[in-house]
Subunit: 270 residues, 2 copies
Amino acid sequence: MKNEIIVYTISDSIGETSQKLLAAVTAQYPDLVFNNSYRFSFVNKEEELIDILRDALKDKAVVISTLVDNHLATVANDFSRQTDLHYLDLMNPFFEIIKSKTGFTPIEEPGIVHKLDKEYFNKIAAIEFAVKYDDGKNPQGFLQSDAVILGVSRTSKTPLSMYLANKGYKVSNLPLIPEVPLPQILDKVEGQKIIGLVCKPENLSRIRSNRLDSLGLSNSSSYTNLERIYEELEYSKLVFKKHNAYVINVTDKSIEETAYLIEKHLKNLK
Amino acid sequence: MKNEIIVYTISDSIGETSQKLLAAVTAQYPDLVFNNSYRFSFVNKEEELIDILRDALKDKAVVISTLVDNHLATVANDFSRQTDLHYLDLMNPFFEIIKSKTGFTPIEEPGIVHKLDKEYFNKIAAIEFAVKYDDGKNPQGFLQSDAVILGVSRTSKTPLSMYLANKGYKVSNLPLIPEVPLPQILDKVEGQKIIGLVCKPENLSRIRSNRLDSLGLSNSSSYTNLERIYEELEYSKLVFKKHNAYVINVTDKSIEETAYLIEKHLKNLK
């Protein structure tokens, strides 16, 4: 089939970098089918590598590799030059630039990006923090947070918190409901650490309807009512103003995009 | 300084792919300092791009780009060839292979990898699911889970659940405590969906001590007592055996590595 492309990914560790690149590339081809079921992780023997490359050649596949072992990378490079296999090495061109600039060579230790160092444990702690202080469960956590995310229901507070936690930020969040008084402790949080999320009312109503559908609930509640949503959003904007929050309009933004803005804002505070 | 290297990353979207590659590369150079503060996102004008490239040249930086706009990518390529700037284009070599194999060209739409499609909303739902059903909070969620993670305290159940949720899996987890009866609903969950985590007792004791330290608590409790930990682990192994769980030893494994094993196991079930 001409509109299908088979991709082999080869790594001497998990192979996350290839997957990330592949996701970015495939998104650019909505009409092309990428068959990405050939994912080879923890490859560390020459014979194993050559078997994979032979199969890739038979399948007319594109091969992406992130091998850090110099010998294996050379084997794969030589093989693909001799056979015209479509082969992309993501790591070695970078290694070569670094060598030419500094003389340094890689330590060639697979999987070391996942090493259990201080940064790693900070990230784990941040994830546990975000779960613990999600949804206003314990406002005491606001004071230890790098960011406190506020917004009415369905403005993506929870997934945003988890995404930022995965980058090592300690994040808590609080749903804003006009009838529920704000926890007093919020007054003690610096405004610059408070992130306020707003969204176009029509989009919010649609998202809430989908949410109710997915929960098997009826759709006639005030939860999806536009007038009520306007009221909630107005209230939230007053809260943001009072607390001097950094406000982001999340309409049509992905979590990654909103998180990028928050990260940039937090970095500017330092 | 010879042991410092300046890296510029340029993207017409957020630039996550470059960051991922950069993390994998820098891990290979423990003695080299990477200055990665020059991160340029949402670059979409030629003049802006050229200004950045000129600065990079002055800084003797390495430039990594993930520009999907063909015109911009060509401008950057030409500039670097004319100036000997160290430049790595992550996307275009892949685009060229695809063109030669299929004739297809990329749609050149920046940020489309974050598009708000069904897959995206499934991921968001999975993250909310994992937060809702974390820590055995509501065992009813077990039946809707793709995986139910069991383990004694500090075997990384929560961060693992969040990591897998970020890949779209609906995951719940339950801490195992010998004195606390298991929720009956666990009997209704297929064994293959149950993931049991074990860890070397000595490591677990150390992790728990660190945990108590970070909470400012004293360290003399049974929580870090080796004998008690043996007892807990023995109990957990009995539970895993009874429920026919897929058991993973997480000692010295990162979340990414354990998650990789779980994902592989879940894919084999399909």
